[in-house]
């Protein structure tokens, strides 16, 4: 965190000063480790074993927060008897189909819940393959998965063998400290120290928070990493409470914002799913997939959110008669994620591509596939601050040197548009606490630089001018768009007007023209609009609430008047859990929101994440659905049963509980199961996506080392914002690899000389930094060495500093829930000296492939065969 989020890390240092203990678990000793109370090195890609080990420790030592677990999680919920665990099935859960490499998730459901999904009779439950192709996991960014019932069977004694608690216990029973040590390379005493610290600092009086970043998400099992941490936090009662939670540090400013108002192909604003061809023919079908009328929680209002969004998009053209123009929305026909799109480019199925502040030639896994794909485009628009490698690959990319591409053969027309930086435009950032903070333009953008907002506003105008008068139905969605924004004195579209549109307003009635103050005001009859329901309130009373900057010293410690957090300016989600089932704070020290008996309402330091006047002892009518079905002690109000999910009966495609699988490429045999890597990971067995062999496959010793990639404080991701800046480039001028002195000895690597790092995709060269910050680890009966690679550099001719790109080493293997690539760990070989250049590089890599006997099947078989 100090390494990649130094500004945010000031608060960790502040907490440390007040006595907080900081534990850093990371393969490398980083700038965070330097000031932490404890650093625990572990093998990259082994985190689920570590987290599962903590779960086992908590359960075995009975250090869980019993009252919290019983009341607020699904620990007591009874599962179906036909659910089978990885312990029973050699590393896969029940419902696994080895033919498709995917799960039928119906046996993971709660007992008594209809296995066909939530949507009722007319729409059949969506097939899991279909959910995978549309990356349905992204929808969970705003809420849990839907269930078909609000009433579930529970065992309050937590002893029923089919209750979640007992299933959890059995699942993690073998994740002992010794197993953790054998899997992660973490000494037993180090692991136990973490367990003791985390459990001692949780309970009524204390809370612990977990912080992660892309080191947890860029894996074939990334979603399950986060689930592992969620289980720990629920068992220890650390959710919905001050000082608790799981902090997702994002890779860039406002990545949170770009999932809330998504740049993802499969989402609409506010985590509404993008409709799918053939399944969501009308609004009723669509809403029925999102929610079941009988399920609990606020998500039951999905229709209001959707209709308000459609009214924002199409204004008067969206009417009750035409289903509020629901047909204008595009429909998904499959996986259109970034890697699927690049593979489509290679098939000449994609004509044009917009890159907005993204440098896939350097920043995406398997850079060669990205560059070769882009060379198939008819046109490419790059909007960036600098002439990034993705804009120049056609003349100076690595494939020009190897002869795989020739500039004269590439027909792609590249349009480069210089972009305005954040200080050169108005707008908002949404950070990881879901807080929007407004930034004002400080200086004019230089030359022809333009904000993205202005660019797309003008592009939209031009397209609409071009289509004006068209009678073709397919042009209606563009022509009917509300596209009339006020323009500022500078001639630019007013960013605040866009914020107001996102907030939404009343369209009819006495309040017509007034902004909405809360999403609770949204209606499904077309009388309101709103571009993103979760953001409603950010423009309440016609005031830009995100621009508030009242200093912390002038308000309460929760600081509600600094910026604005969704939803409804709540700073901690699910904060009903900060009080006990009776509505009293768990302790004075950790009081946050509580039930005010006298005034019969929820009150406290934050805005209660609960119906304001629903008393703790409220119990719903058994037939109730939606918000009314939430009990007075159901804090997880967006979950279909009001509970925190230790076990996820729905919503995940690769397992209801995290199980340790090895990375897709690993020199280590999975010590826990026959199943080596995740059986549901998305693989792409193609000639241009060869994988290193991993045990039990033969020849895994050709790639005996683990490598991981990461960022340095001095650079920003693929370098577009830093490698053109002299003051940053001089601080880290060259691509390097970090190795331990032990590995340096083993491979004859010399400090500051070059090393060549090889995978089945390519070989790259880097200067060598030999450092004690890297350490070999005992993993079972062998020593594992790890190589560290910062991924900021790329091959090109425009930047001040260039170099081989670490991401070129990776292949494409994805997490099935969200299509995120495994780019934080893989296996490699490392040797002293520079790599061959030109066509010799291809021969060099080919020699490795043939020595390892690699075919397209290698590493791409999802189910590990029996020995």
């Amino acid at each position: 965190m100090a390494e990649c989020h130094p500004v945010g890390f000031q608060w960790v240092m502040e907490a440390k000063k007040r006595g907080a203990k900081v534990i850093h678990i990371d393969p490398r000793f980083t700038r965070t480790s330097a000031v932490a109370d404890m650093h625990v090195p572990l093998r990259a890609g082994s985190d689920i074993a570590f987290l599962g080990g903590i779960v086992n420790y908590i359960l075995e030592t009975e250090k869980y927060f019993h009252e919290y677990v019983l009341a607020y999680t699904n620990a007591a919920t009874i599962l179906r008897e036909d659910f089978a665990d990885t312990e029973d099935l050699d590393g896969v859960f029940s419902g696994y189909d080895p033919e498709t490499g995917s799960y039928d998730t119906s046996t993971w459901q709660y007992e008594g819940i209809d296995e066909a999904a939530p949507s009722g009779e007319e729409t059949k439950g969506e097939h899991d393959q279909s959910r995978q192709s549309r990356g349905a996991g992204h929808e969970m960014g705003g809420h849990g998965a839907s269930l078909n019932a609000s009433d579930v069977r529970r065992d309050e004694t937590l002893t029923d063998p089919h209750c979640v608690f007992q299933v959890l216990k059995r699942h993690y029973r073998r994740y002992t400290p010794e197993m953790v040590s054998k899997t992660c390379g973490v000494p037993v005493d180090a692991f136990l120290k973490v367990c003791e610290a985390v459990t001692a600092n949780s309970g009524r009086d204390r809370t612990t928070s977990w912080v992660y970043s892309v080191g947890w998400t860029h894996h074939s099992v990334g979603v399950q990493y986060i689930r592992g941490s969620a289980i720990i936090q629920l068992l220890l009662g650390n959710m919905g409470r001050p000082g608790g939670g799981i902090m997702a540090l994002r890779g860039h400013a406002s990545i949170q914002g770009s999932t809330d108002i998504p740049t993802l192909y499969n989402l609409l604003p506010g985590y509404l799913p993008m409709p799918k061809a053939g399944e969501h023919d009308n609004l009723d079908d669509y809403v029925a997939t999102i929610t079941s009328p009988s399920q609990k929680g606020f998500w039951a209002d999905a229709r209001k959110f959707t209709v308000s969004l459609l009214k924002s998009y199409w204004g008067d053209a969206a009417t009750a008669e035409n289903d509020f123009a629901f047909d204008y929305l595009p429909r998904l026909t499959g996986d259109h994620g970034t890697y699927a799109t690049v593979m489509s480019m290679l098939e000449d199925e994609v004509e044009g591509y917009f890159l907005l502040g993204q440098n896939p030639a350097v920043g995406s896994a398997h850079g060669k596939m990205q560059r070769l794909g882009m060379a198939h485009l008819k046109w490419l628009v790059v909007r960036d601050l600098n002439m990034i490698e993705s804009a120049t690959f056609w003349k100076d990319g690595p494939e020009i040197e190897t002869g795989e591409l020739a500039t004269t053969d590439i027909a792609t027309e590249v349009f480069f548009f210089p972009a305005a930086a954040h200080v050169e435009k108005d707008g908002s950032f949404t950070q990881t606490q879901r807080m929007l903070q407004w930034h004002h333009k400080a200086v004019e953008p230089p030359g022809q630089c333009q904000s993205d907002l202005q660019f797309f506003y003008l592009l939209g105008k031009k397209v609409r001018e071009r289509l004006a008068g068209s009678t073709d139905d397919r042009d209606r969605p563009v022509l009917d768009l509300t596209w009339n924004y006020p323009v500022t004195d500078d001639g630019e579209i007013d960013a605040e007007a866009v914020l107001a549109e996102i907030n939404g307003g009343h369209l009819t009635g006495d309040k017509a023209g007034q902004p909405l103050t809360s999403y609770l005001e949204m209606a499904d009859d077309g009388s309101t609009n709103g571009g993103c329901w979760i953001y409603t309130g950010v423009y309440a009373d016609g005031v830009n609430q995100a621009a508030r900057r009242k200093p912390g010293s002038e308000q309460s410690w929760v600081a509600p008047e600094w910026g604005w957090a969704w939803p409804a300016n709540r700073r901690i989600l699910y904060n009903r859990a900060s009080a006990d089932p009776d509505g009293k704070p768990w302790s004075d020290r950790k009081s946050y929101v509580w039930w005010d008996e006298q005034n019969q309402k929820w009150t406290g330091h934050d805005i209660a994440d609960f119906e304001p006047t629903k008393p703790p002892n409220y119990r719903p009518d058994p037939d109730a659905g939606g918000i009314a079905a939430l009990s007075g002690d159901d804090p997880f109000i967006m979950q279909a049963d009001g509970k925190g999910w230790l076990f996820a009966p729905a919503g995940l495609l690769d397992g209801p509980l995290p199980a340790h699988y090895e990375p897709s490429e690993s020199p280590v045999r999975n010590p826990l199961y026959r199943q080596q890597a995740s059986p549901a990971r998305e693989v792409f067995p193609r000639k241009d996506n060869l994988q290193n062999p991993s045990p039990p496959e033969a020849n895994s010793d050709v790639f005996p080392y683990v490598f991981t990639t990461y960022r340095l404080t001095e650079h920003h991701t693929a370098g577009g914002m830093s490698r053109w800046v002299p003051y940053l480039s001089e601080l880290q001028p060259e691509f390097f690899c970090e190795v331990s002195p032990e590995l340096a000895r083993e491979r004859n690597l010399t400090h500051l000389d070059y090393a060549t790092i090889v995978t089945a995709r390519t070989a790259i060269e880097a200067r060598v930094l030999v450092t004690d910050r890297m350490t070999p680890l005992f993993v079972g009966d062998r020593t594992v060495h790890q190589v560290g690679l910062p991924y900021h550099w790329g091959v090109g001719s425009s930047a001040l500093v260039t170099g081989d790109s670490a991401n070129d080493l990776f292949g494409v293997t994805l997490d099935p829930n969200v299509h995120i690539q495994e780019s934080k760990v893989a296996s490699c070989d490392i040797r002293p000296g520079r790599r061959p250049t030109g066509p010799a590089l291809l021969r060099f890599v080919e020699e490795y492939r043939s020595r390892a006997g690699i075919t397209v099947e290698t590493g791409n078989r999802q189910r590990t065969p029996e020995d």
Partner: protein, 294 residues
């Protein structure tokens, strides 16, 4: 003119300022430095300093090397087989017999703005001067690039800028100004403003000394027994620094001289000796004449 060594609580008024604000300075607490180098970048941005070249030095994460004409804040990175206070690391349990404790020190160095600044004392043009804040500043437009100040500095901080002719201030002596222009406008120096962890603290020197002493005490209580202050003592060889540091090891570890002495400290003595010598010579010569008259 004030003295050339020893404590001098009125350094600015002794330099001729009629009314002076309290003396300003830095306290750099290296125990909370996270090595982000925001200070280096903010300094260069504000002062429009050219880059210092793109060279991988292999000196841990330090690639600017040392303070110089184009690096006015410099962050050192030191990897050591020692323990940081009570910090727990587990390298000693690695499958190798050569590992023990480990810590990674980071420290942002800067011009010390000495109470007795030799650079200023030897400057023949008056380019280097003592500001009303008690800091030492080079005036680019007066400096003639004679370079006397360079060997005079006991820390090796000040340096003449080299580079192609079009480089800004090439040939001119350059160093930290403690952001004189920002202080004048009531702002804190750019490095202190940018520092996310308050490792670099700016303020009244008297108050910083108190804060620094308290911090050392706290660290000692927390088991960081090697915490010590550097440059805080008005009785030291430079009369105390305007920029003091909390270090976790010997100054040499960070590339700092253990016992810096203003190179002009002995000037009065030298002049005295020289004067005596001259007098003796004179006396000798005179006596020769007198002798001749006899």
């Amino acid at each position: 003119m004030g003295q050339l060594s020893g404590p001098d609580p009125h350094v600015a008024s002794n330099a001729g300022w009629a009314e002076t604000p309290s003396r300003k300075g830095f306290f750099t607490d290296t125990s909370v430095c996270i090595g982000c180098k925001a200070c280096e970048v903010a300094c260069k941005e504000w002062n429009a300093i050219p880059d210092d070249g793109f060279n991988l030095l292999g000196s841990s994460y330090d690639n600017t090397g040392a303070l110089g004409a184009s690096t006015w804040r410099h962050v050192a990175f030191i990897e050591q087989p020692r323990r940081f206070g009570e910090q727990q690391t587990f390298f000693d349990q690695a499958p190798t017999d050569s590992r023990g404790d480990f810590r990674w020190l980071m420290s942002s160095d800067v011009c010390k703005h000495c109470t007795h600044a030799a650079c200023l004392d030897v400057c023949p043009t008056g380019s280097l001067f003592r500001t009303e804040f008690g800091t030492v500043v080079v005036q680019d437009d007066i400096c003639n690039g004679c370079g006397y100040c360079v060997p005079a500095c006991p820390f090796g901080v000040i340096e003449r800028r080299t580079g192609p002719a079009e480089t800004k201030n090439v040939g001119i002596a350059q160093k930290c100004t403690l952001c004189y222009d920002r202080l004048d406008a009531g702002h804190m120096p750019a490095c202190a403003q940018a520092c996310p962890t308050e490792s670099i603290q700016f303020g009244d020197l008297d108050e910083l000394r108190v804060r620094a002493a308290a911090r050392v005490e706290t660290l000692h209580e927390e088991g960081v027994s090697d915490a010590r202050l550097y440059g805080e003592d008005p009785g030291d060889g430079i009369g105390g620094a305007g920029a003091m540091f909390l270090l976790l090891d010997e100054p040499e570890t960070y590339g700092l001289p253990p016992d810096p002495v203003v190179s002009t400290r002995d000037l009065p003595q030298m002049w005295k000796q020289a004067g005596l010598a001259a007098l003796t010579l004179l006396a000798g010569a005179a006596s020769a004449f007198i002798g001749r008259r006899k």
